[in-house]
Subunit: 766 residues, 2 copies
Amino acid sequence: MKDYFKLDEWKIIEEGFKPGENRFTESIMSLGNGHMGMRGNFEEKYSGDSLQGTYIAGVYYPDKTVVGWWKVGYPEYYAKVPNATNFIGIDVRINGEELDLACWQVNSFRRELNMEQGFLKRTFTAENDAGVQVAVSARRFLSMARREIGAVSYSITPLNQEIELELVPYLDGTITNEDANYGEVFWKASLSKAETGVGEPAGRGCLALRTKKSDFLVAAAMEYKLNKHPVEITACQEKKYVDNSIFLTAKPGEEINLTKYIGVTTNRDYPDDDTISQARSRAREARNAGWQKLFAEHSRAWKDIWDEGDIRIEGDAAAQQGIRFNIFQLNQTYTGHDPRLNIGPKGFTGEKYGGATYWDTEAYCLPFYLNTRDNEIARNLLLYRYHHLDKARENADKLGLDGALYPMVTMNGEECHNEWEITFEEIHRNAAIVYAIYNYIQYSGDREYLADYGFEVIAEVARFWEDRAHFNPRKNKYMILGVTGPNEYENNVHNNWYTNRMAVWCLEYALETIDYLKDGYPGSFQKLWNELGLSAGELEKWRDMIDKMYYPYVEDLEVFEQQDGYMDKELKSVAEIPEEDLPLHQNWSWDRILRSCYIKQADVLQGLYFLSDHYDLATKKLNFDFYEPRTVHESSLSPCVYSIIAAEIGYQERAYELYLRTARLDLENINKDTEDGLHITSMAGTWMSIVHGFAGMKLKRIAGEEKEERILSLEPFIPEKWKSYSFKINYLGRILNIKVTSTGSRVTREQGEPLKILLEGEKQKI
Amino acid sequence: MKDYFKLDEWKIIEEGFKPGENRFTESIMSLGNGHMGMRGNFEEKYSGDSLQGTYIAGVYYPDKTVVGWWKVGYPEYYAKVPNATNFIGIDVRINGEELDLACWQVNSFRRELNMEQGFLKRTFTAENDAGVQVAVSARRFLSMARREIGAVSYSITPLNQEIELELVPYLDGTITNEDANYGEVFWKASLSKAETGVGEPAGRGCLALRTKKSDFLVAAAMEYKLNKHPVEITACQEKKYVDNSIFLTAKPGEEINLTKYIGVTTNRDYPDDDTISQARSRAREARNAGWQKLFAEHSRAWKDIWDEGDIRIEGDAAAQQGIRFNIFQLNQTYTGHDPRLNIGPKGFTGEKYGGATYWDTEAYCLPFYLNTRDNEIARNLLLYRYHHLDKARENADKLGLDGALYPMVTMNGEECHNEWEITFEEIHRNAAIVYAIYNYIQYSGDREYLADYGFEVIAEVARFWEDRAHFNPRKNKYMILGVTGPNEYENNVHNNWYTNRMAVWCLEYALETIDYLKDGYPGSFQKLWNELGLSAGELEKWRDMIDKMYYPYVEDLEVFEQQDGYMDKELKSVAEIPEEDLPLHQNWSWDRILRSCYIKQADVLQGLYFLSDHYDLATKKLNFDFYEPRTVHESSLSPCVYSIIAAEIGYQERAYELYLRTARLDLENINKDTEDGLHITSMAGTWMSIVHGFAGMKLKRIAGEEKEERILSLEPFIPEKWKSYSFKINYLGRILNIKVTSTGSRVTREQGEPLKILLEGEKQKI
């Protein structure tokens, strides 16, 4: 799929009608605005292959857990993101025949995702068996300025004869999910209402549905405008469907335009009995404002985002298009406007992984939002977890453990993934949540957050590790048994190096935070100390664990062993896998994957990335050389971390290859599953590959300075092909502009006070 | 639940009505005849707590596998045994009021399972709010002589006034399963027919249902006889239900009896279009034969079983009742009449574990049937696997492996359990299937079986091990990674000692068999050699694996390590678990169980039991002492193996305790789950505890004799409390009677030629 889309710095362009690639392109052409989103489905009916998908943030269905042998502690449900009311739909009938590109001859076809302004445009000409030719142009956007509003502008022009035209804007709630047991339907009807003749020669409709079991009410309302007075309008109102049928005639060359204005609200934001009227108000408000005004507001919002968050690359259109696609989709998925929301691995682009929150947020996404947007947004991501602390305590308690264990997958703080090896064992996620606090404090300087919220989470996670590890007197070491590391191609292993190391890091950071709070916020600290029931003895235990943690290590190769027994595997390289066996997870049975040496995603390397400052280049190089050839990168979260380490250890070519793999993962369908939706959370990794990888941005401890002082350091390189790249970052209240060219790099301060940084190892005042 | 049932050598007696224990007693009071079976449910309506269950051998429903993240190789379905048509039901209305023990006052109540003759009897007296008192006596059996026939004799006597009585014998297909997703129903209606006035003053009915997806047709037909001419009979016929309503009057003291005759057939045994008429013929045939004749045949069949298979214990009623209950239920579950059937872990006593075949059959059940019944029955159990060899080859191929991997759970040779850690990893089952062949050959002397069937299975299993293990050049050893051993409280471990050891044993036995067949059956052998594509090089590889297999071992303690890393666990003893945490699987989350040192069932010890002859007493003692205190015996398959080893190493008291735990596991509800059904397969372990444990029966190699020659050896002890015990075994065509008293033991030959055995280490000619 390397050259499927045209190379363009601001657009993703599909030329020609390729039904076999429709699901793939639908994923790529997804739109979202943080509140709602949808795949690049057609407005008019399409009977060919398509994954219909419209998703509403925070709305889920709790799918009952079903396993052969029930095990204590299993979550009751797996959260699914249900496909919601199709509100973009406009059926088109021409001389009584349905316009359906699966049945008509398509003469030209183009889909274009405009990333600069955030809209989707589709144009085509088509001809039916009777020789009627029409041209269609459709544009749509979901407003970034008014989140509950979307608009579709649909124009149709007969090309060679006068036609009788029926345009049917509708709201359809008879949708299904592909990911459903026995075809189960997730929505109940709540209200449907279709009217005609509501001001102008127009009509409107409203449809409200309620999810089964979880009881989310989602209301969609539509109004519309026409550029020609219709012959007749009729309304249809069924249990889960409403429409207006608009009858017109159109002469050859006469463009008929219908602009559909949509309001979508949920009872997450309004009282139940107000939700429907709010959706109606939004649709009315949108129609009153009109396309031009709405679009101007929307594209202004995008301009602001790009001003702050763009990465500009000169001399490499593929790299430029790739990074922009990533930044665009991230900003479509999560806007930070609602602290109850988070970042689903597929955002609004598919059903899989349930739109739920994973550790991806803290480990991959946080740095992106933290450095490219207002601190408030990253803070909201942190508060999301803070608000779930009690549920995380309950979760640990369910497993018989002290402290807090954050869920692996969640919609509302409750664990909602139903495989034991993930839910119960992939506990390293707890460390990422603490690491995100550390990251936030370092880049924002908002240390008060520690006293107000952060420390409670840090302490409860430390306590979890304290209880989860045990002391092995035979080896005089602490051990952590029965875990799944970041590499999910291993389950239930003992002493995953990454998990053990990050657990210790959490304890170290907890102690560091205690020292800091004691001095900086003595009052708050004493209160927290008492409330949490901490004791000197407990801190002593943490110190003992830090001293005596066991880390698997391969003496002869001087590499960290991913977990106990990894070296007993048949040690092969990815190059030895026959091409047709890849990706392994689609071709090999699970046990074969588990016992193989192949690694899904960065595991030891993830630790070397997070704790970069603790390991020297030689160590990173040895571990990269050992693990990279065994890594299949079948998690989209993998190549970015390898790219960053490769950049650091001077493997510039490999860093660039891995960068392209992450940047163009979806555009080139590298993991062969983009049809299911985009890999949203890993897109932040692409951003990291440039900023942390190529530009080498990190925080370094300064020898001799205060213990917790770290300084921003940049050690950029530029891929051979590139003329320059530049980006901005938000750091300690400043906006810094970093530009790297083949002759050198320059950091300028666009906002805020002067500060010192390290640039290529030299201290500079900016 | 220690004294819930009266101690009686031939009966299980429940006195008094205890609604809270009803599910438990229903399990205990189950009846079966190899073709069908049912729990001890009441005939008349009961609105209190009850697990309704009627099951038909070989009939299953393929329940779709549903997991969060699909993995390649997952079986499509989990086989469920569907609760089938309730054919024992007889509703009773007295003066228009339903007789329902949940609503009536129960004055006396007794349920009695007669194991000697194989029937269930229930008597009670009850009184309603209007003061009407009745006495009821109900008996039923499922014929061991005519498997498709069952009969219920139901008598009711008004005690203090004349009553208007309505008796409603019915067939009810509107039954449900508790183990069903979203209340799904597994049966479709096929035919229902109710008639009255069919000869005598009587009627009849027929109901046929078909399982969804798997398309099994099960037909049930009823006829009946009354001891009094009724006032009226009406018939009711609904989609999945038929009945006759019989109206009578009865004077105080007048016993009204209805005897219901049932025929049950399936399209497993007849062409689809003949199945229903066959059920009708069976019901008619039964009614013509009448209760007395049917019951006489049935109890004669039981007499034959007891003559061959009883174990008699003098001086310990609890032990006697326990062993008889086990022998009784085993013979109810599997009769060997149909080689397509096998032994479900819960037989006909509950829904769980799907009535499917597990390794329990080969590892636990085979010796029981082999030594207590005709060889044909054990041979049928072996042929069951032989007939599934091609499916086992496919199963290995699905996992990317050569040879054959038998399913962990199956109805028809296909794997039908949907958890990867079991399905993909509990591969030791393959060894048990070979071990069963070895056992069969040793005890039956039927060596031709090796040439005709056995060797193909042995060779394909050997080949599976050959491919599944890999050579680790770092340690110069073969290893088997990513397995689940018999102890299912560990998953995905490396180098489970039992698995590695049994894999090597399979290779050794394969080579031994090749040597034997080469000499004994050169023609057949050459054919097999060619068909299987064996080569000298492959055999060389097997020998190399035998030489260089890796076995985890704890040097300082001189014990075999259950798997790599076991010694890194927190090593506690079961005594340290708080009482309220037991059983662990009902109280601890799965990860906690996995990382604990606690063992569900014999694992290393299972190997020491199977390969007893290879290990000396000191080794057995060290391993018993180390593992037994860490074993929670939460598999019913566990205590018997520990009991056998305890007996062997002279821990007689512990052997006896463990024996009682296995013998009375269900009668005393020791694992707190008997309400779900009985632990049928482990009942064979109870038999082994006496025969292999107390009596010390095993096959010993004789030094200096021909390689494959083994001799039967007995080294009995008798528990202190017992006066004597005796049993018969079928060995190499002889029936031997073994009697052990506190003063000594005696072996007599009841059938067949003289032979030599070892008794207490001395060679004797019998």
